[in-house]
């Protein structure tokens, strides 16, 4: 921090203290406070939205990648004994379709998701630190203004011996006021504009999002259901009836009875 900056921050800390103790009057700007409150909500929501959109994308990727790995593992299981069984064929078909799903999804959706969801959000969220800088600056200038005003008022109440003091204080007050007013007016004027523009800004993302969600589901469903024809006819019903679970249990029991498993 530069020396000038340091002096400023020390002075402002003093002003804050005096304001807390009621020595210096604090300017309350309801209009700004209202706009800022709204802006804060918007900022928070945007950041949460950005986080969730990223999580959503990552989850889609992770889901599709996990499927691929599971399919690979299944092949290992089948590879251990019988590679031409019906199950092995189905496992093979399954592997093909999830791989297909994974690669086509990544290839086709990566760009569009970024264009329609991640980038608009990222851009908006990148504005916030700058806007916050404006707000912080405005708050600092407000402190300067408050302190300059109180100094000037004191001089008006109790004129000093030195006749140049008051004009100087006034000059300072005017400058502070000008700076503060400029920053404050800009924020009061532009924050609502920013908030208002969010609607047309984010609007097209919605349609893109639901279309991509539907696409993800539809392609996943279609590609996977193609594997069904490799299954024996009764599998679907068996699954629905809970038969498959019983089969799994039976096999496990048989395994436990093997002599090498401690059974006899």
């Amino acid at each position: 921090m530069s020396w000038a900056g340091f002096k400023k921050s020390v002075n402002r800390a003093g002003t804050t203290l005096l304001q807390k103790t009621g020595q210096i009057e604090r300017t309350v700007d309801r209009e700004f406070a209202d706009e800022e409150a709204k802006y804060r909500i918007f900022e928070k929501e945007c950041q949460a939205l950005q986080k969730d959109s990223k999580a959503y994308w990552d989850a889609m990727r992770a889901m599709s990648a996990a499927q691929g790995r599971i399919a690979e593992t299944l092949e290992t299981f089948y590879g251990a004994a019988d590679q031409s069984s019906e199950g092995a064929m189905a496992g093979h078909a399954y592997k093909r379709s999830v791989d297909d799903l994974d690669s086509s999804f990544n290839r086709e959706m990566d760009g569009p998701f970024r264009t329609t969801i991640s980038e608009p959000l990222g851009k908006m969220c990148a504005y916030f630190p700058i806007v916050n800088e404006h707000v912080a600056k405005r708050n600092k200038k407000l402190l300067d203004y408050d302190s300059a005003r109180s100094r000037m008022k004191k001089l008006i109440d109790k004129p000093s011996e030195d006749p140049t003091k008051l004009p100087k204080a006034q000059q300072e007050h005017d400058e502070c006021k000008e700076m503060f007013d400029m920053l404050n007016n800009q924020l009061i004027e532009e924050l609502p504009q920013l908030l208002d523009l969010r609607v047309p800004y984010f609007d097209p993302s919605f349609e893109a999002m639901i279309r991509m969600q539907a696409k993800f589901a539809e392609e996943g469903y279609e590609k996977l259901s193609g594997v069904q024809r490799y299954f024996a006819d009764n599998v679907r019903d068996d699954y629905a009836a809970g038969q498959l679970d019983a089969q799994v249990e039976n096999v496990l029991q048989e395994m436990r009875e093997l002599s090498i498993c401690g059974g006899n």
């Binding site: 004009p167 005017d174 349609e207 969600q213 996943g220 096999v251």
Partner: protein, 463 residues
């Protein structure tokens, strides 16, 4: 304790086999099975890990989908005190109206997916963990076989050595095996027999049961795979079904199209909101407040924001008021081409204090202008400037007099036709009006343009 003793007695042999001094017997058939079994073991581990990853991903998908919908709908609904977003943005009406349903649909999905995931947890992960337990016992058996094999090899080796020696020289025998070598040999043979039996038993059992286990593993994975497949299919189905019903109810077209098309149509629908946000002052980094103040003075007087500068008029009486916060006064000053920017904070103190002296320029202007120029500028402001020599009296001045003015402040062009200059520049005055509030025409470095008269020190130089 027995285990430790065994381990100790086996260690020397393990060392000698490693360095190639002792032979190890190999059973290729068993080794093949063991290798497959090892694969299965790691496959089971992976299956559990990936199924878990899959469940986590699905959970994350639906949780973040719900979160996304919630936050998006908050953004698309009026925030504290706002009203009628649809009225203000009729184009976005469709999106805004769909929000409640969308958030609702995503919330329902998140709840729907719960039981499905529990199913995967109990019906897939559960059995996979069970088979892991089974595999662990088999692994133990395999380790045991290894130990038995070690014993077998150990005794076998010792016995071979002893027999070799016996054959070599009977005389040595006397010295080496004083304690009756025959008995030693017998003992070893006994041990060897036991080890052989034990090893054979366990090796045969494994060779018999491992292939069976492999078969069972396939039988195990068949129904497990089918179950998982249907559960997974159901996840997609739930999502698809919800999306379709949401789209139907709210009249969105979610027919499957290519990703590029989605992105393309998005681009088409993108409005100028991007640019308009970009143009806002609050999204631009602050370099220096004083520069901003100057810019805003210039802008507010000249061309505030998007309003056309032609219909912007600054109050011609502004010189009486504190000029500091440049206001967008609407009082008209007809006849002026455009409103000039108010001068930087010159009259600032005047309105507030009757006994104010001419204020020095703000500290952020170039220091060189402090001094006579300041006073002159202030003076120029107070007293109307001398009428410009628009009509030089013919005869008296044969040549048109060239008048120069000196810039008091920097001025950056706000629009085409404006003349930019820096503090201290001498500008050839071509046309000026009576009032310093107006825009004047001048020439600098061969460029002709208009500029706010107030920015100049008018004690003209003449040539």
């Amino acid at each position: 304790m027995k285990g430790i003793g065994k381990a100790l007695s086996r260690t020397p042999f393990a060392v000698t086999t490693k360095i190639g001094m002792a032979k190890r017997s190999a059973d290729t058939e068993f080794d093949e099975y063991a290798r497959h079994f090892g694969n299965l073991e790691s496959a089971a581990d992976k299956l559990i890990k990936d199924t878990k990853a899959f469940c986590d991903a699905v959970t994350a998908l639906f949780t973040s989908g719900d979160g996304y919908a919630t936050h998006y709908s908050v953004i698309m609904t009026p925030i504290a005190g706002e009203y009628d977003l649809i009225g203000k943005h009729p184009d976005s009406g469709h999106t805004i109206r769909s929000q409640d349903h969308y958030a609702q649909a995503m919330k329902e999905l998140k709840e729907l997916i719960g039981p499905e995931l529990e199913l995967i947890e109990s019906r897939i992960m559960g059995p996979a963990k069970e088979i892991q337990v089974v595999m662990k016992t088999i692994r133990k058996t395999i380790t045991k076989r290894e130990h038995k094999l070690t014993d077998y090899d150990r005794y076998n080796n010792s016995l071979t050595k002893l027999r070799d020696k016996k054959d070599k020289s009977l005389s040595d025998e006397k010295n080496l095996f004083k304690a009756s070598p025959a008995i030693l040999c017998l003992e070893l043979e006994q041990d060897f027999e036991v080890a052989t039996n034990e090893y054979d038993y366990i090796n045969t059992a494994l060779k018999q049961d491992l292939p069976r286990f492999m078969m069972l593993a396939t039988q195990f994975i068949d129904p497990l795979f089918s179950s998982f497949f249907y559960m997974q299919l159901n996840v997609y189905y739930l999502l698809l079904e919800k999306m379709n019903s949401f789209a139907d109810e709210n009249k969105w077209d979610v027919a499957n199209t290519s990703g590029a098309q989605i992105a393309g149509e998005y681009e088409e629908k993108r409005t100028d909101a991007w640019q308009r946000i970009e143009d806002l002052g609050v999204v631009k980094r602050i370099v220096s407040v004083s520069r901003l103040v100057q810019a805003s003075r210039a802008q507010n007087g000249g061309a505030p924001g998007s309003l056309g500068r032609s219909n912007t008029t600054a109050s011609s009486s502004s010189s009486l008021k504190p000029a500091a916060p440049p206001s967008r006064s609407t009082s008209s000053a007809s006849g002026y081409k455009k409103a000039p920017p108010p001068p930087p904070s010159l009259g600032g103190s005047r309105g507030l204090s009757p006994r104010a002296e001419p204020a020095p320029p703000p500290p952020y202007t170039a220091s060189s202008s402090v001094g006579s120029t300041t006073l002159a500028a202030a003076a120029a402001k107070r007293a109307p400037p001398p009428p410009p020599p628009l009509k030089p009296k013919p005869g008296l001045k044969p040549k048109p007099q060239i008048q120069y003015v000196v810039a008091l402040y920097d001025f950056a062009a706000q629009a085409d036709g404006d003349l930019s200059f820096n503090t201290g520049d001498r500008i050839e005055l071509i046309q000026k009006s009576e009032s310093a509030e107006d825009w004047w025409t001048g020439r600098l470095n061969g460029v002709q343009g208009v500029f706010p008269g107030k920015f100049l020190y008018k004690n003209s130089f003449q040539s």
